[in-house]
């Protein structure tokens, strides 16, 4: 099957959170607390076991392209709907010891709830801080890329609900081209700091849910150079084997000499 993806565009998002609501509704995701964060209009704060779409609200002392703000100094309000990145080399999938996390036929990373035993290792191996354990349930949860909807030819719930097409869904290869084209267009229109977030040059090897953003990825808590933790295995295991050999020799020496 064709690899599908998301392209989420911060320059089109109006911060309505319809994606958050549609995701919760369709997937039956439980409530995750009702607390005021004091951070702009973002009371969701981050993705988690019960938050699979999260609209970020950035208040920045910067100009948004050619726009003028009537606030005395430069000011812009940027919104972005964050989601699981469905990495080409996914830390959670590589680390899962039960085989609960699999790659689906559309290229998404999916946690099978009937297999997961809640060991929590995916939580610390996701370089984007997406997947988490639901305390009252015990298992790990994250965005399923609406596997059930895609199986019957429907768009994911968030993309369907998005009123401004800030969340685009489609064939991955097309969306990557579309993302590059959109950034080019934004730049010619004066949005000099528009860029495509898709860390393809790191060991993550690109993501299936790309973002068009204004400014630096750090502002959105998107890591500038995420690495898949399996990349660290060689150095860590080498150290483990070497130290095991040295300790064995040392123990032999201790018994032999005393």
């Amino acid at each position: 099957m064709t690899q599908t993806g998301f392209l989420t565009d911060a320059t089109l998002c109006i911060g309505c959170k319809a994606c958050e609501v549609a995701c919760k509704e369709w997937n039956g995701v439980p409530a995750d607390g009702f607390e005021w964060s004091g951070l702009s209009y973002d009371n969701t704060r981050s993705l988690g076991a019960s938050t699979w779409r999260h609209v970020k609200f950035l208040e920045q002392p910067l100009r948004a392209g050619p726009q003028e703000a009537a606030t005395g100094g430069p000011f812009r309000w940027v919104f972005l709907s964050d989601v699981c990145k469905h990495c080409a080399h996914a830390g959670c999938l590589e680390a899962c010891p039960t085989g609960a996390i699999v790659r689906t036929e559309v290229g998404a990373v999916y946690v099978q709830p009937d297999i997961c035993n809640g060991c929590g290792y995916c939580v610390v191996t996701c370089p984007f801080g997406v997947v988490d354990k639901r305390p009252d349930d015990g298992r790990a949860f994250k965005c399923t890329f609406c596997y059930d909807r895609q199986k019957v030819g429907l768009k994911p719930a968030c993309a369907t609900a998005c009123p401004t097409e800030s969340i685009r869904f489609g064939p991955l290869a097309e969306l990557r081209q579309e993302g590059a084209r959109r950034v080019e267009e934004l730049r010619t229109r004066g949005y000099a700091d528009a860029q495509l977030y898709d860390p393809a040059s790191t060991t993550v090897g690109g993501i299936h849910a790309g973002f068009v953003i204004l400014g630096e990825p750090e502002n959105y808590n998107l890591p500038p150079a995420p690495e898949v933790p399996t990349a660290y295995l060689a150095s860590a295991w080498t150290s483990a084997f070497l130290s095991a050999a040295v300790v064995f020799v040392a123990v032999c020496a201790a018994f032999g000499l005393t």
């Binding site: 590589e94 809640g118 929590g120 808590n221 995420p226 150290s239 201790a254 018994f255």
Partner: protein, 331 residues
Amino acid sequence: MSAPPRPGATEERLYQIRHAASAGLAHPSTPQIQARDSYYGLAALKPPVWTWEVPLYFFCGGVAGVSAVLGFVGHLFRADPAMVRMLLWMALIGAAVCPMLLVADLGRPSRFLNMLRVFKLRSPMSMGAWILVAFSGFAFAALLAHELQRAGVDSALLVNLGWLTEGLAAVTGLLLASYTGVLIGATAIPVWVAHRRVLPPHFLISGLGGSAAILELAGFLVPVTQALGFLAAGVETLLEAWFLFRRRPVDAPLHRGRSGGMFLAAGLLQGPAALLLRLVPIGTPVGRTAAAACFLLGSVLSRYAWIWAGRASARDPTSQFADQRAGLTRP
């Protein structure tokens, strides 16, 4: 008691709020995101969700694994048979306690067998599950062979099987005591990743000292436990000095806050304190016993300190992003 509101006071207050909201978007109380900053300083990673059982498992696995090594090598070099027997028992008790701790930590303990659905070289958690299963089997078989021989069962096959299982328990024991460093080192948590090369020997040596310390506390105040105790405390002292000396931004959780305090206490106990108590007064039972107790306590605390440091590290997006920009996180 507050005075009743003046007529028009509500409207006046509303006007003030509206005025502040429109004119004061850049008000000092409004948090704003600067260039190359994080998103309101919120965590960009998820902290480990592991409960108290996991660090304790790291400790028990370390001690049990090294006990199997000491038992095998001690047997090989014809050490005190009582000590060899105790080591084999320590390995087995550890092998029995470890799975219980791990199962208790699972979100769905009834599904613990799912760990053995796949054999996945890329996943240190999967490798750990298989290492633990293999170790438990070999430790049990080795002890069984040993106890049967003690009970007078005389068979060449039993002797050979005893040697084979003791050797295999030693090999898997070395892996069990060191893989936990790989387990947390090959993650996304910055402070663990930054120490992925030093964590396996750090944990292995801690297990070595812990096993020797238990022997000493049980009364085996023999030269070999003294030598192993010196070795472990010496190496841990060097490591502690190295950790104190290195103060990169990523190391902050090892020096600051609750995790930093715990880390320092653990390092001092299994490092300099255990070393000095062995030196002064030289070789007296009281000094050695105190040194053993110090090391054991430090060894347990150290595993908790590393997990706590991981939690603090996950909550610090600033140094995480800066290190990535500087290319310090490349494999």
